[in-house]
Every structure is written in structure tokens, then in C-alpha cells.
Amino acid sequence: MDPTMPGGAAAAARVGRTFSPEPGVIRVVLADDSVLFREGLARLLAENGFLVAGQAGDADELDVVVEQESPDVVVTDIRMPPTNTNEGLLAAQRIHAQHPQIGLLVLSQYVETRQAVKLLQNASHGVGYLLKDRVSDIAEFADAVRRVARGGSAIDPEVVAHLLQRRGAYSALGALTGREQDILALMAQGRSNRAICERLVLSPKTVETHVGAIFSKLGLLPAADDHRRVLAVITYLRNT
């Protein structure tokens, strides 16, 4: 053990060193102050083809483990010791500033549009913001982790639902057909066109047409990537 390393033995002990990662396997670092939840999540991810490169119980440990492992994605709880407020969020911002290539998936007991927008604005790619209990929908959750690891976005459906329920949104989205509204919601959650095809059982061409129609009806410029598309849609919905 390197004696100069901050975080000490506890952090080092949890790091499962992987010297020759298989190509294509997504390397994940987990942070949550509940050991039970963290271990469960680690097992879940391992069983679903991810490689859990390290775990951390607080933000300081997380910094150390990320430095050591440089994973593809970090999954962190928003509230962690010592102040139990938003350490996870701050740690995520810190990690993004130093390693913009690492995807960040933030879990929280509650979701706020404001925090989602902040995360989207601060990160140039690969950011997720989900309710903690979404992990119980294993396939969905694994998909979200994968998306974030590859630079996409994952915004909790509850955030999107709140935005769509607003009276302002109701009148602004009046011009969209029912199908277009469904597609808009999925786009806002950060899903790619391909994922939308699969979800709604539509052909790629149909989805593309719908997406184009939505953008022109709402007066939005077509976005360069999925990440920017999410930000544009959410900002639009929030400001209506």
C-alpha cells in the first residue's frame, strides 16, 4: 500500500484491482454510505456484465478510488457523510472537472428538475440523474449505466413527468400528436433514437421523422448529440 495515499487502508481495501480489463467491459466505481446498498448494487452490476472496479463510502474515498481506477462511469449517492447534504453532487462536479471522459450517474432519494438541469449544464457528456429505487428495475438501470458510460444521458422519468404535467407545457405541447409527445418524453429521459425504436416498436425512419417534426413544431434547433438534445428539451419544457 502506498503510504502517501489519502483515504488510507479502507479505500485501498475496497479497490479490486483489474490490471487487464477485457475490452468492451464497462468499469464502474460505486459510492454510497450504506454498505448494504452498495454491496447489493455491486453484485447486481457484476451479474449484468459490468466490472465494479472500486467502491467508496464517502466523497473523499470516491476521489481516491476514481484517481486510482479511472473508471468509465461513477455511480454515486447524492447525500453522503460527513454533512449528509449534497457531497455526492459536489464530488460528481469535481470528477467531471478533472476527468471529463468519466460518465457520472447520480442517485438520489428525491429528484428536482433544478438539479437535473444543473448536472446537464455542467457536464459536457455522460451524465445521469435517477431516483435511487430505479435500481430495482434491473434492465432499465443497467441500460442507464451503459448509456452514461458511453457519454449519453439518463434523466429520471419523474423529472420529465413533472415537466410535462405543467399547465404551460400542456398548451405549448398542444401542437404535438400523442405519439410525438411520447417520443418527446423518452428523448427528455436521455434515450437514443434506437432505444426509442425498441421501446415503441417503431422503425428507425419513423422515429427520425417524428423527432424532426417535434423539433420544428417546438422551434428548437436539431441537437448535435443525445446529451445536448436532452438539455435542449428539458430547458424548453422548464421555461414554458
Binding site: 450504506s34 448494504l36 446498498f37 447489493g40 448494487l41 453484485r43 447486481l44 451479474e47 447525500r79 449528509n84 447534504t85 449534497n86 432519494q109 428525491y110 428536482e112 428538475t113 433544478r114 438539479q115 431516483l131 435511487k132 429505487d133 435500481v135 430495482s136 428495475d137 434491473i138 413533472h162 415537466l163 404535467q165 405543467r166 399547465r167 404551460g168 422548464r238 414554458t240
Partner: protein, 578 residues
């Protein structure tokens, strides 16, 4: 008459002879000046000094005035061309100016207070005496062509030494004059407001005297040569009459203040507004900073007229020291006057006695206000304790129950994954997972209702924005600050916004609402405006009533402006001193 008065009378007669004799000599020697004004000036100092010695026997000012008369008339007597008299007169009168400076600087006690003051006055004496000594040792009148002069030739006659001494003395005189001004300035700066009130008249008179004196010095070395210089010189003589009167007035002014106590009695005959008694006492005693505190019966605590708790000043405490004069009735403390230590104790007691009944009345009022204040403070404590408890419950839910339920959902999901081959088992696990999901959602909403986590974590503007995000109406939020406020303030403001927005959504039929948060004059202002049907009534709706109670519990104010069809505007102002 007492022996002391006989003594003073004898001294008075002697010095009167000294003054009149001095003038008689000046007249006979044809000294060009207004002898009448000069004599009145001297007599004025003499009478003022005698009165001061009689009325304020322990005050040194009287002796200083007497000394000034004795010394300055040596000059007049010096005109008598007999033997060594001119020399004694010329030399002896020199400290006169120094005595005058000492009087001004040590007024009204006659005592110098600081080392710097003693240094300045000492230097003035030293310059005067030094100059006299050189003249005494080296002046030879015959060298100036004065053959008639009775001045005995000096032991070491040197015209050069005398001229040098005179010009050096003049230069030094200018320097010590600056030192004196500095000492006076320091004295003014250190003076308490009550002292300044006493110092002001003398300093006005002394400044005019000094300015005129300076003008005289610069106008001409020989005042008889020029009409203007002569005029200035005479003006100075007139001021010499006024100066002792000002000295005496200051010394006896506590007597004047006593008559102000009489006015106080008249003033207190009519009913007083709260705080008016303090102002009346402050005016009567000439101490604008005077404070009046009341003792709460049997509690050993003090409050001001508004019932706010206060402490008596502790003895000592340097320049800003205050003195407490406690007024008692039947051995129990009733009230305390907190005042400038420079005030005369007897006078303060007299004023307190004059205000007796008014003090008793205002104390009763203060007691009632203190009790009200206590009730209000306990209401605030109850509200704050409630808030703290809600925060604690939310935190426990978040870190305990919610966390456990999330872990449980995770375990259930993994279990479900393993029993994929057993459809019956899988179905019942799916059902359990769905139930759990609902429970987690309900618990989340419950926790948010108890206390929104975002308010604890990110503060008021963020929490209000979150409210706006969740509102079914478009809500615009404007906040001119980002920093954290005290928890009770944040909780109250959040409560106001959240209830008001809920009301808007329920009753207003509005197309939108605006929330503004801003800080001004140590208060947080919260405003929620909608464009709905209006007509909200705080006296009927229990929701608005609850808001009003909640805001006033933290000393805030709450108003609702509304008109049918004109929307509703809810405004709360919550004090927050951060």
C-alpha cells in the same frame, strides 16, 4: 459669615486694590489704553474667581482666576519707575498667558487630565519663564537709549541675547500654541456628549479670544502705532471681561441644570408616550445618550421601556464607560438611569426623584411588554422546535427508512432475477416489488411534505425554484440572493411560498404566478403574485390565517392584497439579521 468667607472678602479687597492701583500707575505713566475697560476686565476675573471659590470650594478654577489677576496686573505695576519694579513687573507678568491656557484646557475641573496636557501647559510655562529669565539677566535699558528708565542694569548686559531670546520666544510661542490647539482637539474628541455640552460655550469664547490675540500679534508689534491694531487690542480687553463670566457660568451650570429638573416636573404632568420619559430625562440632564432601564419585580432582570431585556453597565470599561444610578423604592430596585459618568450624581438623583411617578407607571408598562415579549419569544421557540423536529424526522426517513427500502427493492429485484424459471414465484415477487415501489413513492412525498430536503441542502431560492418546477402553473421565480439564511427564516419563507402557490393552484384560476424573494434593510421579503380571480380573505381562509400566525411568530409581517378579478398578492417580510 464663615471664616472662609471672611478670608475671601479680605482677598477680594486686597486684589481690588491691586487692580485699581495698577490702573492708577498706568494712567500716571500715560500708558495708551482704555483704563476703564482694562480695569473692568480685571475685576471681572476677580469677582468670578471669588464666586467660584465660594460656591465650588474644591474646584481649582477659582484659584487659577485669582492667580491670573495677581500675575497679569504685575505688568501694570511695572510701569512704576521705581528701583527694580519695572523689571519684576515685566518678568512677573509673563506666566499670565500660560495661566489662561491652563484654565481653558483644564476647564471645568481645573485639573489637567493627561500627560500630554501637562506637557503642553508645562512647556508654555517654561517658554514664558525662560524668556523672562534671559531678559532679567541680560537686559540693559540704557543700551536702548532709555536714560529715564528705573531698570537696574542686568548682571550680564547683552542686547544681542535679549533680541535672540525674544525672537526665539515668539517662535516657541507659535509652536506651543499649536500644541495647545492639539491638546484641545484631543480633549474634545475624548469628551462625552454631556461634557461637550458644557465645554462648548467656553471654547467658543476662547477661540474668539485666541483669534483676536493672534490678529493683534500679526497686526503690529506696537499696538499704539496703528488704529487697526489698537482696535484689536481693545477688543481683546473687552473679551477679557466676558471670559471669566463664561468660566463661572460653566462651573455653576449644574445649578442651571437643576432648574431644568424643575421643567421636567412640569413636563411630566401630562400623559407620556412610551420612550418619552427617557427623552425628557435626557434633555433635563443634558445627556442625549441617557438610557432608562426598569427592574422586573423579583427577577433581578432589567428591561427597557419596550420590554426588551438589557444589562446594567459593569463598572469600569474605559472611555465609553457608563454609570448606572439605581432608583429604589422600599429597598427594591425600581429603575436605573444609565448615563454619562460626567453627570453630577446629585442632579441625576434629583431628576429621578422628580420623575418618580412617571417611572413607576412606565415600569408597569415595560413589565407588561416584557411579558408579551416572553410569550412571543416562546411562540417563536415552539415554531422553531417544530421545524427542527420536522427536519430531524425528514433526515431520519431519508437516511434510515428510505435507504432501507431502496436496499430492499434492490434485493427483491435480484431475487426476482434468480427465480425467472418459476413463474408463480416471479409473479408474487413482482407484486411485492410493485407494492414496495408505491410505498417508496408515498414515503418520498410524505418526507417532502414534512420538510423538503432541498431546503436543507441548497437553501431557500433553490427550494422555491423546486416548488415552481412542481407547480401545475407556470411560476416565475426571482431571487436577488444566493446565500443561506437562518433556518427559521428559510422554513417560514418556504412555508409562505408553498402555501400561497397551493392556494393559487386551488382557487385562483390563474394562468401563472410570480414569486419574488429579496433582502432589504435586514429583512427577507417574500412576494407571491397571481393573475387569478382574486378575493382571497385572510380573516376567513384558515390557510392565510395560518400563514399570518407563522410569519408573526418570527417577528415578521404578513399582508394580502386582493381585489375581485384583480389577482392576489401575498407579501411577507421576515427579519433576518445575518
Amino acid at each position: 459669615m464663615t471664616r472662609r468667607r471672611w478670608g475671601l472678602a479680605a482677598l477680594g479687597i486686597m486684589l481690588m486694590g491691586w487692580i485699581i492701583g495698577g490702573e492708577w500707575v498706568s494712567i500716571h505713566q500715560h500708558v495708551p489704553e482704555n483704563h476703564f475697560i482694562d480695569a473692568v476686565g480685571g475685576l471681572s476675573f476677580l469677582v468670578a474667581g471669588l464666586v467660584a471659590l465660594d460656591r465650588r470650594p474644591r474646584n481649582r478654577m477659582g484659584w487659577l482666576m485669582i492667580a491670573y489677576v495677581a500675575v497679569s496686573y504685575l505688568g501694570n505695576w511695572g510701569n512704576l519707575q521705581v528701583a527694580v519694579v519695572p523689571m519684576i513687573g515685566t518678568i512677573g507678568q509673563q506666566p499670565g498667558g500660560a495661566i489662561l491656557a491652563q484654565m481653558v484646557l483644564s476647564y471645568p475641573t481645573g485639573r489637567l487630565r493627561t500627560r500630554f496636557e501637562r506637557f503642553v501647559i508645562g512647556t508654555i510655562y517654561a517658554v514664558a519663564i525662560g524668556m523672562s529669565a534671559v531678559i532679567a539677566l541680560a537686559y540693559d535699558p540704557r543700551a536702548d537709549g532709555c536714560t529715564r528708565c528705573a531698570w537696574e542694569p542686568a548682571p550680564f548686559p547683552s542686547r544681542h541675547a535679549v533680541l535672540t531670546a525674544i525672537s526665539a520666544g515668539q517662535r516657541a510661542g507659535f509652536f506651543v500654541f499649536l500644541l495647545l490647539i492639539m491638546a484641545l482637539w484631543l480633549r474634545w474628541r475624548r469628551a462625552t456628549p454631556a461634557e461637550r455640552l458644557g465645554l462648548a460655550p467656553l471654547w467658543v469664547a476662547a477661540s474668539i479670544y485666541m483669534v483676536v490675540g493672534l490678529m493683534g500679534t500679526f497686526a503690529s508689534p506696537d499696538p499704539t502705532a496703528q488704529p487697526f491694531a489698537y482696535l484689536v487690542w481693545e477688543l481683546q480687553s473687552v473679551l477679557q471681561i466676558i471670559l471669566p463670566i463664561v468660566f463661572l457660568w460653566g462651573l455653576l451650570s449644574t445649578r442651571l441644570a437643576r432648574s431644568a429638573v424643575g421643567d421636567l416636573v412640569m413636563e411630566l404632568e401630562r400623559p407620556l408616550l412610551p420612550g418619552e420619559l427617557r427623552a425628557s430625562l435626557a434633555r433635563a440632564l443634558g445627556d442625549p445618550s441617557l438610557d432608562l432601564l426598569y427592574a422586573l419585580e423579583g427577577q433581578g432582570r432589567w428591561v427597557n421601556a419596550d420590554g426588551q431585556p438589557r444589562f446594567l453597565p459593569t463598572p469600569g470599561g474605559g472611555r465609553q464607560a457608563r454609570t448606572a444610578t439605581v432608583v429604589e423604592r422600599e429597598g427594591e430596585p425600581l429603575a436605573a438611569l444609565i448615563h454619562d459618568p460626567a453627570l453630577d450624581q446629585g442632579l441625576v438623583r434629583a431628576a429621578a426623584a422628580a420623575a418618580g411617578m412617571a417611572i413607576v407607571n412606565e415600569r408597569l408598562q415595560a413589565e407588561v411588554r416584557a411579558q408579551l415579549e416572553e410569550v412571543r419569544a416562546s411562540r417563536q421557540r415552539i415554531v422553531e422546535a417544530g421545524d427542527a423536529e420536522r427536519r430531524r424526522v425528514e433526515r431520519n426517513l431519508h437516511d434510515g427508512t428510505q435507504q432501507r427500502m431502496a436496499t430492499l427493492a434492490l434485493s427483491l429485484a435480484m431475487l426476482r432475477d434468480r427465480v425467472a424459471g418459476d413463474p408463480a414465484m416471479a409473479a408474487s415477487l413482482d407484486q411485492a416489488a410493485a407494492e414496495l415501489k408505491l410505498a417508496i413513492g408515498e414515503l418520498r412525498e410524505l418526507a417532502r411534505g414534512i420538510h423538503p430536503a432541498i431546503l436543507t441542502e441548497e437553501g431557500l431560492p433553490a427550494a422555491v425554484e423546486a416548488l415552481a418546477d412542481r407547480s401545475s402553473l407556470p411560476v416565475r421565480v426571482r431571487a436577488d440572493f444566493d446565500e443561506r439564511l437562518p433556518e427559521p427564516v428559510e422554513a417560514t419563507a418556504y412555508f409562505v411560498v408553498s402555501e400561497s402557490l397551493a392556494n393559487v393552484a386551488k382557487y385562483a384560476c390563474a394562468s401563472g404566478a410570480q414569486v419574488a424573494l429579496w433582502r432589504r434593510n435586514g429583512s427577507l421579503h417574500v412576494e407571491v403574485i397571481d393573475d387569478g380571480v382574486g378575493g382571497a380573505d385572510a380573516s376567513r381562509g384558515s390557510g392565510l390565517r395560518g400563514l399570518e400566525d407563522r410569519v408573526s411568530a418570527v417577528r415578521g409581517s404578513f399582508r394580502v392584497h386582493t381585489s375581485p378579478g384583480g389577482g392576489t398578492c401575498v407579501v411577507a417580510e421576515i427579519p433576518c439579521d445575518t
